[in-house]
Symmetry: C2
Subunit: 442 residues, 2 copies
């Protein structure tokens, strides 16, 4: 059996690897428009900052033995058992996995700006290389978009010594991911480093004037040598649509639990696919590497004749603010209320380890729970520490449908060098439980 994977990012590499592992007799071919596979796009901001090399983010050979890679070729058409590359070459498949990822979203008013010298979007390692090169001879930057990518690039540019302004159209950064109260903590941290966050300030125009760029927002404008457009991404479904594969209302490819699309034998996985949000029950675009990997795994195993389900996502995420991080999982209170879920939240601060230990930091945790039954719906975390463990534990609880009382009962590994006798999650779960119980007594 021939399994062809289009796209060699996180989902594509997982799909190819698992397909090959599951079916040793299968021929697995990955086609990628870049000249390399990228396994770690999330490290591009760190590479811009110079903390890791761009070279380390590329893989020029497949990681899984037995997987064949066709690199540097765009797929322009396909269907009926083959795909066609830009050079006219056709590759036959028995099963096809679309792992085409996402492309930067550029609103109409800013589309012209993309052509200007010094204006960049960020998708590939090359974009990162160009941004770093430009940054090294620049003093002022504007990042348009206060989402995950925008903020990480802003932090990277700030570390290179640039004065950075972030234009965000919404009232706070990381909208949809964080609530306003938590977002303000991250904004304060950025401000303390000299990163200016201009909220309620959608960028309307980027123009060149006398060799400098000027970014005009609804409320404020800034001059810059370097502008990064990071207002968001959208699923790359060009090939899927050409092949008659159905897309959903969010613009992603529709798949079932086996990651199979509307066309039998064609699968999709990663940023281009619409999957179930396990908290809201609605469809969502996860746009995260960890879910993309699991989706790729399921698509690969199923394409190879096995059976693996991807039930849905709880969207654990984390944004690197260097020396600090903000992250979460599930749904924010604002987002829950927006879709009519009856939720309560508790926000606390607690130390990650005993106060006398080096590296002790106050961690802010906001826990969102269902008012009805106390089920944990979401968590938001901010702190100057490694918060992945906290997010991961909560993401597990959310996935397993645990409630705040279960979270209070959890025991944790205690060692003063790393942790306290109880975790910040425990403190947040207790506060949420108290709030729920108070509500019931009334």
């Amino acid at each position: 059996m021939r399994i062809v994977v289009v796209g060699y990012g996180t989902a594509g590499s997982a799909a190819a690897g698992y397909a090959r592992r599951f079916c040793r007799e299968c021929k697995v071919i990955v086609v990628e428009r870049r000249r390399y596979a990228v396994f770690h796009p999330c490290s591009i901001p760190e590479a811009i900052a110079g903390l890791v090399s761009f070279e380390s983010l590329r893989e020029e050979k497949p990681l899984t033995p037995g997987v064949e890679a066709v690199l540097g070729k765009r797929v322009v058409d396909g269907g009926g058992g083959f795909i066609e590359l830009e050079d006219g070459v056709r590759i036959e498949y028995d099963r096809l996995i679309l792992a085409t990822g996402a492309t930067p979203l550029v609103p109409g008013s800013l589309r012209e700006a993309v052509g200007l010298s010094g204006v960049y979007t960020l998708r590939d390692v090359e974009d990162g290389v160009r941004i770093r090169e430009k940054a090294l001879s620049s003093s002022k930057a504007v990042v348009i978009g206060g989402g995950a990518i925008g903020l990480e690039v802003a932090v990277a540019l700030n570390m290179l010594g640039l004065k950075v302004s972030v234009f965000e159209m919404m009232p706070h950064i990381l909208p949809g991911m964080l609530d306003g109260d938590m977002a303000r903590m991250a904004e304060a941290l950025l401000a303390s480093r000299g990163i200016e966050v201009l909220t309620n300030n959608p960028a309307r125009l980027v123009e060149e004037r006398g060799g400098r760029l000027r970014v005009v927002g609804d409320k404020q404008e800034r001059e810059a040598d370097l502008v990064v457009l990071a207002v968001g991404v959208r699923p790359d479904t060009t090939l899927a649509e050409r092949m008659g594969v159905k897309t959903g209302s969010l613009g992603g490819i529709m798949v079932d639990k086996h990651m199979e699309t509307s066309v039998s034998g064609i699968y999709a996985a990663g940023d281009n696919a619409e999957v179930r949000d396990l908290v809201s029950g609605n469809m969502t675009l996860a746009m995260l590497a960890s879910p993309a990997f699991r989706q790729g795994r399921a698509a690969g195993i199923n394409a190879a004749g096995g059976s693996a389900e991807y039930k849905g996502t709880v969207k654990p995420w984390i944004v690197n603010l260097h020396d600090a991080a903000v992250g979460g999982a599930g749904i924010s209170l604002e987002a829950a209320e927006k879709i009519g879920m009856d939720a309560v939240a508790a926000r606390i601060q607690a130390y990650n380890k005993p106060q006398y230990m080096p590296g002790a930091e106050r961690i802010s945790v906001k826990l969102v729970a269902s008012r009805d039954d106390g089920r944990i719906l979401g968590v938001e975390v901010f702190g100057k520490a490694d918060i992945t463990g906290l997010v991961d534990v909560t993401a597990s609880l959310i996935r397993l449908g645990a409630d705040v009382w279960s979270a209070v009962e959890l025991e944790n590994a205690y060692m003063p060098r790393f942790s306290e006798v109880y975790t910040p999650l425990y403190v947040a779960a207790e506060a949420a439980a108290r709030r729920l119980e108070r509500g019931r007594r009334r």
Copy 2:
């Protein structure tokens, strides 16, 4: 209502704090034989090594406002509504919480050794102070007992420049907590630092000869300036027994889910109490601070008229080997087999973050699961990194009764600075799932 707590360690302080928080009108009195409360006994080894000060580990005033502390007084008797201190003073109670902790276990053959100069046990901060003082003028140490405390003290003494030998009676260190294969990794690490681990070598005699100590084991003997006895601890039930409170077959105080003892109105919590092991279903002595805190919480709330259950423990633990750590939760394969549980295990190595990132380390994970239904029974982790998140996620899964397939489905917060797209737990869960599926196909 008067609530009296005997013992101001982790369980006692949690009990007092929660009792007071739950019942503002209650008078809460803690009686402690030491002149201070210790909240962080687990930091004593770090203080011996000089990484934190001994002073920072003591609390001379109650942490919870409204809690009264009687320090430096031993409780010698009690029952029928009062306790009696060593100076004859009686303190009345309506509810009593026994949080008397544990005392070092000294086997008969070594009891005489405790009187020798240079031979120490470790329970209080003062013991730590004395050990450090002696260590600073010593060159050779023997630690008797390769359990958690013994190893952490051995590491601390090694950091002070002493040549350290650990005598362990069992075939590997951390018996009962780790399997042999995982223990050997920790042993190899200790050996690489010059800490000698002598297994199958129970200490039989410690004697003084010409001003030096000599420790004689079954197989080997060593000379030393300093000997630390850390063969284990046993519940301190002296007061409980005087009061007619029932103890169980493990030597701990018997309690129900509300942490109430056989005597109505008397509660117990912490190292002195027998609690349910949620994995085996048997009673156990948790002897860990994190469970002690939860038990103290439940005892405090219940004593104050509220209702809180402590359902049992999954025993998450971690031992600080400095720059490395070993930890786990649930049950080891050896321990599971010993009590007749039909378990399988998978052991893997995986990086904690992308290999190109600073701080990337291979983490070893052994996952133990029920052969019958794949339920996760235990985890063992070793690595030169912060492994608390990994232990905590698995401990949560164990408590919630999740199986290895659920663990494969978990998504995690991915950020190259802290984590990979998948965790070492994911890799271990996949390996365990494959093993279980292979077993079924046969």
